[in-house]
C-alpha cells in the first residue's frame, strides 16, 4: 500500500495536480489530505472538488485552520494577506464546497496511523510543530506509530526509539527512509501549494507502509500560471510572488 500525503494545498490547483500525477506515476493507491485545502490561492472551488472526489473514493481528509476560517471560525493568528484571501475565498465557494469543508474532522485515525493538520496534542488549537518539545507533545497525545501532519510548511521528520525522546531529521527529497514500526514517527510532509523554504517546488510525501519506507518529494509545477491566476483574481501581490520565489 502506497499512501500519498498532501498538506497545505492552499487553493493551488497546479501544484496539487502535479503532485498527484507524480504520486500516481509512483504507484500511489491511497491518499490523505492534511488540511488547509484553501486560502492564498486562486482555485478554491476546483481544489475542493478534486479532493472531494478523492474523499468519496476513500481518501482521508482533515480540516486545517484556513478551512476553518472560511467556515467563519475566527482565527486572529492569520496575517492580513491570509485574511484577504479568506474573505475572497469565502465569496467563491458554493454551498457544496462549504458543506464539504464543514464535514471535515480534525483528525482521522486508521489503525496505527494518525492524520492531523497541526499538533495532535490539541488539534483545534493549531499548534505549530516547530521543535522537539512540540513534536514530543504531539507524539505523546497522538499515540500512533505514524503521525502525518502539515501546518508547518517545511518537510521534517521526527522519530522516537528506545530513549523515548524525539530526534529531528531534515529529509533529503527522493531518498527513501526506512521507518521501522518498532519506532514512532511524526512526519511533516511540507506544503504542496505554498512552499516557503526558498525552493519553489511543491512538497509531498509517499509512505510505503507495507515495506516501512517513507519518501519525501519536491515536484516542479507551473508556478507561473498559479501566480498569474492569483494576480488576475486581485489577490495580494505578495502571495503571487511567494509562489515564484518559494519564500
Amino acid at each position: 500500500m502506497k499512501l500519498a500525503l498532501f498538506a497545505d494545498i492552499h487553493s493551488n490547483l497546479e501544484a496539487l495536480t502535479a503532485c498527484l500525477a507524480h504520486a500516481q506515476a509512483l504507484g500511489a493507491d491511497r491518499y490523505a489530505f492534511l488540511g488547509d485545502l484553501v486560502g492564498y490561492g486562486a482555485d478554491p472551488v476546483a481544489v475542493i472538488d478534486l479532493i472531494e472526489r478523492h474523499a468519496m473514493a476513500g481518501a482521508a481528509v482533515v480540516l486545517g485552520n484556513h478551512d476553518a476560517a472560511v467556515l467563519g471560525r475566527h482565527d486572529d493568528t492569520l496575517n492580513s494577506n491570509a485574511q484577504a484571501a479568506i474573505a475572497w475565498t469565502t465569496a467563491q465557494l458554493g454551498a457544496r464546497q462549504r458543506d464539504f469543508l464543514a464535514s471535515l474532522p480534525l483528525t482521522v485515525r486508521d489503525e496505527n496511523v494518525l492524520f492531523v493538520h497541526a499538533s495532535a496534542a490539541a488539534p483545534e488549537q493549531w499548534i505549530y510543530v516547530t521543535g522537539l518539545r512540540e513534536a514530543e507533545e504531539s507524539m505523546k497525545v497522538g499515540d500512533a506509530g505514524y503521525i502525518f501532519c502539515g501546518h508547518v510548511h517545511e518537510q521534517k521528520l521526527y522519530y522516537i526509539g528506545a530513549s523515548g525522546r524525539p530526534m529531528p531529521f531534515k529529509p533529503v527529497p527522493g531518498t527513501p527512509i526506512p521507518t521501522g514500526t518498532h519506532r514512532r514517527w511524526l512526519a511533516i510532509v511540507g506544503s504542496a501549494g505554498q512552499p516557503r523554504d526558498h525552493n519553489n517546488k511543491a512538497c509531498y510525501a509517499l509512505a510505503d507502509l507495507d515495506r516501512a519506507r517513507l519518501t519525501f518529494y519536491r515536484v516542479a509545477y507551473d508556478h507561473g500560471l498559479a501566480a498569474r491566476k492569483i494576480r488576475a483574481a486581485g489577490l495580494p501581490e505578495r502571495v503571487a510572488r511567494r509562489l515564484e520565489r518559494g519564500a
Partner: protein
C-alpha cells in the same frame, strides 16, 4: 538465535564456517549455491543480556550499506532480514589481509605505513563523498584487497547525511572504539567526516610508535583527556620517525576538526607524496604542549565546543585537485601563459582547490651522460625548476601547489596513473603548437582525454591577431 551454527539455514542461506564472534554480532561464511561473489552472513547478537545498541547498529549497518550500493571500498550488501523477525545481513566476503595484522609488527616502516594509510584515506574519501562517515575506524575494520585497495567494514556506527541518525538517541554514551575516537565523538557529535581523519591519525600513530596516542582510556574522565591533551610527538617515542610522517599524523590528530585535513583526499595526497608535505612546527615537535597550555585547554574543555559539522555540499566535494600536465619540452611562453590563465580561472572558482604541476619524462637512466645536467638527478632537478618557474606567476601559497617529475617511457599513461592514484578532479593539458611538441604531444593529450578518470581540459592559446 543461540542454536545457530554451521549447517543451520536462515531464509535459504546455509551457514558455513564461523569466522568471527564479536560483542555485537557473529559472522559466518555462506556455503551452498555459489553466486558471483563469495558471501558472509552477519547475525547480530540480540535478546536477553545483549546491549540495545546492537539492534540499532544492525539497522544502521543495513541502511548505510543499502544506500552505498556497490563500491570498491565497502562490502556490497546482498540481502537482509527484518529486524523484528530474523535479523541478518548477507554481504560480500572481502578476501584480504587485515590492518590489524600490522599491530604486532610496530613500529611499521614509514614508507609502508604511508602506503597503508593512503589506501585507507582514499577509501574514506570515497565514503565521505557519498555522504557517509564511518565513525568506528580501527585496525580490525580495515582490510586490503590483493590490489592494495582498502575496504572498510562494519558500518554499525556509521552516519549517512541523507538518513536519520538512529544512534544519536544514545547521545550520552560515546559509542565506538575509545582508543581511536575523535574528541567531538566524545561529546556526542556524530555528523563530522573529519572524525574519521582523526581516527586515521590515531591508527597511524599506533602503528608508527607501537603506542596509543591517548593510552587506553578506561573511564569517561580518561576519555575526555583528548579534549585538551596532545599526544607525545611520534619522534619522541621512535627517534627515526620522519618529520613528514609526524606532520601528517599530528595534523590528523588536531583537537579542533577545522585544524585537521579538510578532506581525506588531502591526507591521501600527503601520504602518497611525502616529499611534498609542507612541514610546520608540528613535524619538528619533540614534546607535548607545556603544562600551562594544557591547563588552559583543560579549563576551556569543560565547555568543549566542537567544530560544526561541514554542510553536505562540502562533504560531497572535498578539496579539488587540479593536475596541470606540462610537456617536458614545452617552452613556448604563449601556451604556458594560456595554461596559467586556465588554472587561475579554476582556482578562483574554488578557493580550496590545490594544484599539482607534473611533467612526464623518459626514465633518467636511459639518458645519463657525463655532464652534470645529464645525470639522473641533474635532469630531475632541471624539470622541477622548470615546473616551479611555470607556477611562480600564479602566486599560490605553498600548501596549495606541488611539483612532480614522473619518470616513464609512456608519459600519458604516467599522468593518467598519477590522476587515478591521487583522485585528481580535473586535468589541464596544453595543446601543441608547431615544432617538436606538435609531433610529440598531441598523442599525449589525446590519450589523456580518452583515458583519464576525470574531467580533462585541453588548453589552446587565443588565436594570434
Amino acid at each position: 538465535m543461540d542454536s545457530l551454527g554451521p549447517g543451520s539455514e536462515i531464509d535459504g542461506f546455509r551457514l558455513g564456517e564461523l569466522i568471527h564472534v564479536g560483542s555485537m554480532a557473529s559472522i559466518y561464511r555462506l556455503s551452498g549455491p555459489a553466486g558471483a561473489l563469495p558471501l558472509i552472513i552477519k547475525i547480530p547478537r540480540l535478546g536477553p543480556g545483549e546491549r540495545a545498541v546492537n539492534v540499532i547498529a544492525f539497522e544502521v549497518c543495513r541502511m548505510v550499506l543499502g544506500a552505498l550500493g556497490q563500491g570498491r571500498h565497502h562490502p556490497t550488501l546482498v540481502a537482509f532480514g527484518d529486524v523484528e523477525t530474523t535479523p541478518y545481513l548477507v554481504m560480500e566476503y572481502v578476501e584480504g589481509v587485515r590492518l590489524n595484522d600490522w599491530v604486532d609488527r610496530t613500529p611499521v616502516a614509514p614508507e609502508e605505513l604511508a602506503r597503508l594509510g593512503a589506501a585507507v584515506a582514499l577509501a574514506l574519501d570515497d565514503l565521505h563523498r557519498r555522504g557517509v562517515a564511518h565513525l568506528d575506524l580501527k585496525p580490525t575494520n580495515v582490510l586490503y584487497r590483493p590490489s592494495g585497495e582498502a575496504v572498510l567494514v562494519d558500518f554499525g556506527l556509521a552516519h549517512h547525511s541523507d538518513y536519520p541518525d538512529l544512534l544519536a538517541e544514545e547521545f550520552r554514551t560515546p559509542i565506538g572504539n575509545w582508543v581511536y575516537m575523535a574528541p567531538e565523538q566524545v561529546v556526542g557529535v556524530r555528523c563530522d567526516p573529519r572524525s574519521d581523519i582523526f581516527a586515521l591519525g590515531a591508527i597511524l600513530y599506533h602503528l608508527a610508535t607501537g603506542r596509543f596516542p591517548f593510552g587506553n582510556p578506561l573511564t569517561r574522565a580518561q576519555l575526555r583527556e583528548r579534549l585538551y591533551r596532545d599526544p607525545m610527538p611520534p619522534r619522541a617515542v621512535v627517534a627515526g620517525t620522519p618529520g613528514w610522517l609526524q606532520e601528517i599524523i599530528l595534523r590528523c590528530l588536531e583537537i579542533d576538526a577545522r585544524d585537521r585535513y579538510a578532506s581525506a583526499a588531502d591526507a591521501a595526497f600527503d601520504l602518497t607524496n611525502p616529499a611534498q608535505v609542507t612541514q610546520t612546527e608540528r613535524g619538528a615537535r619533540k614534546r607535548t604542549a607545556s603544562w600551562g597550555t594544557r591547563m588552559r585547554r583543560r579549563i576551556k574543555a569543560r565547555r568543549f565546543d566542537p567544530a560544526p559539522c561541514p554542510p553536505p555540499a562540502i562533504r560531497a566535494g572535498p578539496v579539488p585537485i587540479i593536475l596541470v600536465a606540462l610537456g617536458p619540452f614545452q617552452s613556448d611562453e604563449i601556451s604556458l601563459e594560456a595554461l596559467r590563465d586556465a588554472v587561475r580561472r579554476l582556482i578562483a572558482a574554488d578557493v580550496r582547490s590545490r594544484v599539482a604541476c607534473a611533467t612526464a619524462v623518459p626514465p633518467a637512466a636511459a639518458l645519463s651522460g657525463a655532464r652534470d645536467e645529464e645525470t639522473a638527478t641533474g635532469r630531475h632537478i632541471k624539470h622541477l625548476v622548470a615546473l616551479r618557474q611555470w607556477a611562480r606567476p600564479l602566486q599560490l601559497p605553498e600548501e596549495r601547489v606541488t611539483y612532480h617529475v614522473l619518470e616513464s617511457e609512456k608519459p600519458a599513461a604516467a599522468l593518467i596513473d598519477y590522476a587515478r592514484m591521487n583522485d585528481v578532479d580535473h586535468i589541464l593539458v596544453g595543446a601543441a603548437r608547431g615544432g617538436v611538441p606538435a609531433r610529440l604531444f598531441p598523442r599525449v593529450s589525446a590519450q589523456i582525454v580518452a583515458e583519464a578518470p576525470c574531467t580533462v581540459t585541453v588548453v589552446r592559446p587565443p588565436p594570434e591577431s
